[in-house]
């Protein structure tokens, strides 16, 4: 079975791991966003959705541990790639100029990724690892997001996620070898649309809770 480690520890193998875990996160964010849209329907609808989610029982546990595993792979592999890439150019250029390939998203992948890691830890401490016996999940969410400071943190993190995805989405297809002259323009447009949807969809939740609900 050495061929498995031999394949996935190469440069391309590690990129494939980034692409597959990144694709899974895109899928997770889609489901997460659809679920969270129930917040716009008010307290009862949202709590009913949470109730429904929790009633899935063991399935939810499997999903949570699965996501954790994917996150560990994505973060560890991403960190290895980042440090290898730094080492690959020990003496840097005095003058740096882009030829037009790089984008805001592509140039900041490791940094936006790191901010996302910090945010995810904060987000779990804020919503997940808190007392769920005396308050409903809606109360937890609205207590947090109605504070302007915390709402700002959430909006900032969502914008960072949108920037990460603006490069990550098309990039994962390229990495997986799915670059076809007929389909690549479409994939790039879907990636931009998807990152905007994630940014606007999640980004308006704190605004809605803080100022409207």
């Amino acid at each position: 079975m050495a061929w498995i480690t031999e394949t996935f520890t190469t440069s391309i193998g590690k990129k494939i791991l980034m692409a597959l875990t990144g694709l899974s996160f895109c899928g997770f964010l889609t489901v997460h966003l659809i679920g969270n849209l129930t917040l716009y329907g008010g307290q009862d609808l949202f709590n009913a959705y949470v109730e429904h989610l929790h009633s899935l029982g063991p399935l939810i546990i499997v999903f949570e541990w699965g996501l954790l595993l994917l996150a560990i792979i994505h973060i560890l592999t991403g960190s290895i790639l980042f440090f290898q890439n730094l080492k690959a150019r020990p003496v840097r250029y005095k003058v740096n100029k882009n030829a037009g390939g790089r984008t805001l998203g592509s140039a900041t992948m490791p940094y936006t990724g790191f901010i996302l890691l910090l945010f995810i830890i904060f987000h779990l401490l804020d919503f997940h690892f808190v007392d769920h016996t005396t308050q409903t999940v809606y109360q937890i969410v609205s207590n947090s997001l109605s504070q302007i400071g915390l709402a700002t943190v959430y909006i900032f993190a969502v914008v960072i996620a949108a920037i990460h995805i603006s490069h990550g989405f098309w990039s994962l297809f390229q990495t997986l070898g799915a670059n076809h002259p007929k389909y690549m323009p479409l994939i790039k447009n879907i990636g931009i649309l998807f990152s905007l949807l994630i940014g606007i969809g999640f980004g308006f939740i704190p605004i809605f809770i803080a100022f409207i609900a």
């Binding site: 061929w3 440069s11 790639l81 020990p90 250029y93 005095k94 070898g177 690549m184």
Partner: protein, 254 residues
């Protein structure tokens, strides 16, 4: 229209591989805009020689964009600011009077500096030696047209084969990755029937050697494709990834 311009050059000078280098300032006066960039350096070197100073060492050979020997980073751009040209094809008409031009060598851990702007690119040859060839048995030559190759495939293979191995992709890559170079060769051979028998072996061998040489990992920044003097597309990198995955996961090659 030809005119003469005066330039300030800041050139990377380094006596040898293991000594510290630094940017030195030189003045290139009365440079005709009809000159190529390398001819401009020739003029500066003549002047340095007359002053009994060490001329600037730089690589060059054909001076017409086909050999891949020349190359330097000009104001942060590999082979200078023009698209689809090598440094020897860059003309001074793209610069203006009183410009300050910073000239640096290709920078990558896998490309050691030999002297000034001359770097050792033999790492690229090492990648080719790992599998960038087809094994041809001897015997009676078959008819040249006995293997039909669709025009579309021949064109794609030719586009990949246009690589002159100058190393600008590595120099321009924010990660000093050699994936555009490696993928061009893997693609050229994987596309053609003659290259198919060894495709799996080649993909695994070339990627492993590329990794060992200390190049970085591609993060799809597309800077290589933007700087490549032969405008080789990153679609070749996607093909290399497919070839590597096929070889690693489906073929029986280890």
């Amino acid at each position: 229209m030809t005119k003469n311009i005066n330039l300030t050059l800041k050139v990377w000078r380094q006596k040898g591989p293991n000594v510290k280098g630094r940017l030195e300032t030189y003045y290139a006066n009365d440079i005709s805009t009809d000159m190529s960039f390398l001819e401009m350096i020739d003029v500066v070197n003549e002047q340095l020689t007359l002053e009994d100073k060490e001329p600037i060492a730089f690589d060059h050979d054909c001076r017409e964009g086909i050999c891949g020997m020349c190359g330097a980073v000009i104001n942060g751009r590999a082979h200078g600011p023009e698209k689809g040209t090598t440094l020897c094809q860059l003309h001074m008409r793209h610069f203006s009077d009183k410009d300050v031009i910073v000239i640096e060598p290709w920078r990558a851990r896998a490309f050691k500096i030999i002297k000034d702007l001359v770097v050792d690119r033999s790492a690229l040859d090492t990648i080719i030696q790992a599998g960038g060839y087809v094994s041809v048995d001897t015997g009676g030559a078959q008819d040249a047209n006995s293997i039909a190759i669709p025009q579309e495939i021949a064109e794609l293979a030719m586009d990949a084969a246009a690589c002159i191995g100058c190393g600008a992709c590595v120099a321009a890559c924010p990660n000093a990755s050699a994936m555009l170079f490696t993928s061009a060769k893997i693609s050229q051979l994987a596309l053609l029937p003659q290259g198919k028998p060894e495709a799996a072996l080649r993909a695994i061998a070339m990627v492993n050697v590329m990794d060992k040489l200390g190049f970085g990992n591609c993060t799809n920044e597309k800077e290589c494709e933007a700087e490549c003097p032969k405008e080789i597309s990153i679609i070749n990198i996607a093909r290399m990834n497919r070839e590597f995955l096929k070889a690693g996961l489906i073929s029986t090659v280890k």
